[in-house]
């Protein structure tokens, strides 16, 4: 034990700020010191203090005795004794600075703040031209969480030593701790002025503290001043751009990245990177602008092809967000909008970058746009077939094959569609696209009256409820179960399936006509409520809003037990709300709550009522 104790003591001696030789420490002192330590650990401070006082008297030069005794005094809040001890120790030292800061700390704990301040000032006065003195005082103040005073001391040090590069990170940290984020950014800008490579460090430090919008705004303001003062400093601009993105101000950030791009003659690379960030942040309009600018300014730059594709994708997203359409309800071509721009941009891409790796994807996107938005099925087919033929085994080809299948359905080529979907399913087996293809196959069987086959597909799909189409599959299955008969050929369901196919093929007038006939003939069939719902939907699609609302109202009136009762009223209310009939819409929604209190639609209905009422909650 004894040699171990000696090693320990020697280690402790060396740990002191000014280690003393252990030559004055005898074995009896080691034993007593260990015992005193045990008392301290056991919380018997007074007994420990007695022993430590004795040890210190015997060997005042042994730093560890001094340290432990001071700590013990502190533990029992005997600050006067601790201060007296420090005074005594200081008297025998040639370099009293650290003892002055120690004394200051103890005075502060005692409650003598003025006395403490005096000691810290004395500590600085011992060598005011030395940065380490200010750091010593700063650390003492940090222990007491006197951040404002610590800032004062470090700023004083910079001023006295006349060196603005001192204590930058310490000051920035302190300013962040005191929520003076603007000043923290100032210090970090100073750091970046010396070394631009510190940008990552600065971002990581700031990121931990800029947790509120106000803090970010404060940082932005200072960074903007920094950029104005030193516009050629790249790291300043990068920091400003990063802060603006943190503050979700993509418009301003675009300006910053635009400036960086020009400044460093990057030919759109920085701007392109920013456009991708903006797109990820759902700032589609800004991303669109950035992509567009890359193309306009640097049509020959390395980022130009991806920028052009990105631009078209943003134009698509913008059109969808604005709910734009190419044709109105009556089939008339509307004014040129973002859909047209997207199509044109994709087409430009094909012309300008025929060898680009994204060529198949862009081609496929054009096909999908032609099919879904511009309703030019012939053009869509040509393009999609090209993708499948020229770029087999690619994601674009798979997606194009799926689109071709859907296109075949729209054009009434159901066998072709089945081949497309079956091949795709064989090729993919699993994944979202495979599930979509499987559902399309179920629908094809349904349209053609092969309800058994449709049912087997839906059964397979409803096993995997995580897929997006699982709900659709379940709905189809319910219809199949409930709507068979009355004859062995299931005539009403077969005709209803045909009407649904016509609806999908956008032949609304024919669908409506056949539906009216079906309703006259089989008005009492289990499908009667489905027919009314379908009719209302077709009327709404053809612009007969009032008739559509009336048709929806007929569902609960004529079929009070219908599964569609609640949803028919919800659809009617939504049409009323869209037509500006707010009071009527609220009344209709309230009917849902009164007449169908158990429906799953109630949360949506309650929310809709509150929105229409203008509730704050």
């Amino acid at each position: 034990m004894r040699p171990v104790a000696l090693i320990l003591l020697a280690a402790l001696l060396l740990m002191g700020p000014e280690p003393l030789s252990a030559q004055n420490v005898d074995e009896s002192q080691v034993g007593r010191f260990q015992l005193a330590e045990s008392f301290l650990r056991a919380g018997q401070y007074e007994r420990a203090i007695g022993m430590l006082e004795g040890l210190y008297e015997e060997s005042p030069g042994t730093h560890v005795f001094y340290e432990r005794l001071r700590e013990a005094y502190e533990n029992v809040k005997r600050y006067d004794a601790a201060i007296a001890l420090v005074d005594r120790k200081m008297a025998s030292e040639t370099a009293p600075t650290s003892f002055l800061t120690e004394k200051a700390r103890l005075l502060f704990l005692k409650g003598d703040e003025a006395g403490a301040r005096l000691q810290w000032e004395r500590a600085i006065a011992t060598n005011p031209s030395s940065p380490s003195v200010y750091l010593l005082v700063y650390r003492s103040l940090l222990q007491l969480r006197l951040f404002d005073y610590a800032i004062e001391v470090l700023e004083q040090g910079r001023s006295v030593i006349d060196n603005d590069t001192l204590f930058q990170t310490d000051l920035a940290y302190l300013y962040n701790l005191t929520s003076q984020h603007g000043k923290a950014v100032e210090k970090y800008l100073e750091l970046l002025a010396l070394n631009q490579n510190q940008l990552s460090y600065v971002k990581s430090q700031l990121g931990a503290f800029l947790t509120s919008p106000e803090a970010v705004q404060e940082g932005i303001r200072v960074a903007q001043d920094g950029v104005a003062t030193d516009p050629l400093n790249r790291s300043y601009r990068e920091l400003l751009g990063w802060l603006l993105i943190e503050g979700d101000d993509y418009h301003e950030a675009l300006e910053v990245y635009r400036g960086m791009d020009r400044l460093d003659r990057e030919e759109g690379r920085t701007l392109f990177s920013f456009a991708l960030i903006a797109a990820d942040g759902d700032a589609h309009d800004v991303a669109l602008e950035a992509f567009d600018e890359v193309l306009r300014r640097y049509p020959e730059g390395s980022s130009a092809p991806e920028a052009m594709r990105g631009l078209a994708m943003m134009q698509e997203k913008w059109a969808a967000a604005l709910e734009e359409t190419v044709y109105d309800l009556y089939g008339e071509r509307g004014e040129r909008n973002h859909w047209d721009e997207a199509l044109e941009t994709y087409q430009r891409f094909l012309i300008e970058y025929p060898q680009h790796p994204q060529f198949p994807d862009v081609l496929r996107r054009i096909g999908t746009l032609q099919q879904e938005v511009f309703l030019d099925l012939e053009a869509a087919e040509t393009v999609l077939r090209e993708v499948v033929a020229r770029y087999p085994q690619t994601d674009a080809a798979n997606q194009a094959a799926y689109d071709l299948g859907r296109l075949a359905v729209t054009q009434g080529r159901l066998d072709d569609a089945r081949i497309q979907f079956s091949r795709l399913l064989t090729r993919l087996r699993t994944g979202d696209l495979a599930d979509l293809a499987r559902y399309e196959l179920a629908q094809l069987h349904f349209y053609q009256g092969d309800f058994e086959a449709a049912d087997s597909f839906t059964r397979a799909m409803q096993e995997n409820t995580s897929t997006d189409v699982a709900n659709d599959a379940i709905a189809m299955k319910v219809m199949l179960i409930e709507s068979m008969g009355p004859d062995s050929l299931n005539t009403p369901l077969r005709r209803f399936a045909r009407i649904q196919l016509l609806t999908r093929q956008r032949d609304y007038e024919a669908a409506l006509h056949q539906l009216d006939d079906l309703m006259v003939e089989f008005g009492q069939h289990a499908l009667a409520d489905d027919m009314l719902m379908q009719r209302a939907d077709l009327l709404a699609r053809t612009g007969h809003i009032e008739d559509a609302i009336l048709s929806y109202f007929q569902v609960p009136l004529l079929h009070p037990d219908s599964f569609h009762g609640a949803s028919s009223l919800v659809q009617a209310a939504a049409l009323q709300a869209r037509s500006g009939l707010t009071t009527d819409a609220v009344r209709t929604y309230e009917r849902v709550l009164t007449e169908y209190p158990g429906t799953l639609l109630t949360p949506r209905v309650r929310e809709a009522i509150r929105v229409l009422r203008g509730d704050q909650t």
Partner: protein, 422 residues
């Protein structure tokens, strides 16, 4: 003492106050109720519109009875609260049944909605507050106040004050392991700044001033409801007013070596003879909290507590506070979970306890003209809520018995005829 809060005379004439032949709405609070929590919100909404509501204690889970108005019916439907429209005869029959001596039921008239204050910092902290969640979900209006407002006398504006995951000892929740995270740094900085602004050197001194003000508020007739660490740290701060129980890691100086002998239990509300935990790294304030259940029971499937049944006619306050559609409530853990029974003062009413463990979950007591209610645990529908976890979505727990206990507390002050002030 308890009957002081009850308007006995109102109860006697209730049946005559309702017009014969008029229709009433019964909001049942038993198992047929579609949304127990929102039912409290609609009741509060009705009170705000000066509609008197009768709380039928122990009748179908503590149902509410109010006059049938089209607006109330519409609101009940919009909020998804089940109700029944009663004819005058049926209402009279129910009231007669409730007031019958044979049944442990009674009627309390709720008159005016209490003004609610929630004691919470503006800073967003990475844990939820069950009361804020309950009030928000039930759509009961409230205001947030914190140290500045309390010390500036804002409590006079409110009838009901809520404290949740708060640390009144000045140890910043004892989240020592989180001391480098921005939210902790900000929380500590804000607390220290507030302390200095009010002339205190330490946060513990600031918090003592806050609890003393709250104590005065309760003494003057206020209603205090506290959960989780807002319960035991409240009494810890009061007991430690002549000493220092905060380790140096939190306030820079050590604990008073004589702290234990200097604790003054005459100052506390509910607890006595307890020992603070002086270890800065131990996530516990004192031995008041028995901590999570022992390992075999630390399982949401088997951890539960039971509500005491009181005489609805004579002990109406505890009866109101324990209204529920179940008598056994599933347990949940918090920084403070259950209170050790032997550390509870004898004059405190125990409302719920963990069976067979000598641990109390829910208690109530009075001080001066006011009352306090302490409820252990953090979130009744999140067995063990961790820092940084998403708040509980109460739309998935519309029938939560644990949350009902919270909402009983906000209606209980409405039963008082008028605020009594010293």
């Amino acid at each position: 003492m308890i009957t002081r809060y009850i308007i006995a005379s109102v109860l006697l004439v209730l049946s005559t106050q309702r017009t014969a032949g008029a229709q009433d709405i019964l909001v049942p609070m038993d198992d047929v109720q579609a949304d127990h929590l929102k039912a409290y919100g609609v009741t509060f909404w009705a009170l705000e519109r000066k509609v008197d509501v009768d709380w039928l204690l122990n009748y179908r889970g503590g149902s509410f009875l109010m006059a049938a108005e089209p607006e109330i019916e519409a609101e009940l439907r919009v909020r998804g609260v089940s109700y029944e429209v009663l004819g005058g005869a049926r209402t009279a029959s129910i009231l007669s049944e409730v007031e019958s001596d044979a049944a442990n039921t009674s009627v309390v008239r709720l008159e005016k909605p209490p003004r609610i204050a929630v004691y919470a910092p503006e800073q967003t902290l990475p844990w939820d507050d069950a009361v804020l969640l309950a009030l928000t979900y039930a759509e009961v209006p409230y205001e947030m106040i914190y140290d500045d407002e309390v010390l500036e006398g804002a409590l006079d504006e409110y009838d009901w004050l809520h404290l949740h995951h708060e640390d009144f000892t000045g140890q910043f929740g004892k989240f020592f392991s989180y001391r480098a995270t921005p939210w902790y740094i900000e929380q500590q900085r804000q607390a220290e700044m507030t302390a200095r602004r009010h002339g205190f050197r330490k946060v513990s001194e600031l918090k003592l001033a806050v609890v003393s003000t709250i104590k005065e508020y309760v003494g003057g007739g206020g209603f205090l409801f506290a959960m989780c660490s807002g319960t035991d740290t409240f009494d810890l701060a009061l007991a430690a007013q002549q000493t220092d129980i905060v380790p140096s890691e939190y306030d820079g100086d050590p604990v008073d070596p004589d702290a234990l002998s200097r604790l003054d239990f005459s100052q506390t509300f509910a607890f006595h003879e307890f020992r603070p935990v002086f270890n800065a790294r131990e996530y516990e304030f004192s031995d008041i909290d028995s901590g999570p259940p022992p390992q075999p029971l630390r399982n949401p499937a088997v951890d539960y507590f039971t509500l005491f049944e009181f005489s609805a006619k004579y002990d109406q306050v505890p009866t109101m506070l324990t209204q529920n559609h179940v008598s056994t409530v599933k347990g949940f853990v918090g920084q403070t979970t259950n209170f050790r029974k032997h550390l509870i003062k004898p004059n405190v009413v125990i409302l719920a306890e963990a069976p067979g463990r000598n641990e109390v979950r829910y208690l109530h007591g009075s001080y001066g003209e006011g009352t306090y209610t302490f409820y252990g645990g953090h979130d009744p529908e999140d067995y063990q809520h961790f820092v940084g976890e998403e708040p509980t979505d109460l739309s998935l727990h519309k029938h939560s018995p644990g949350y009902r206990l919270i909402l009983n507390n906000i209606l209980f002050p409405a039963a008082k005829k008028k605020k009594q002030k010293t």
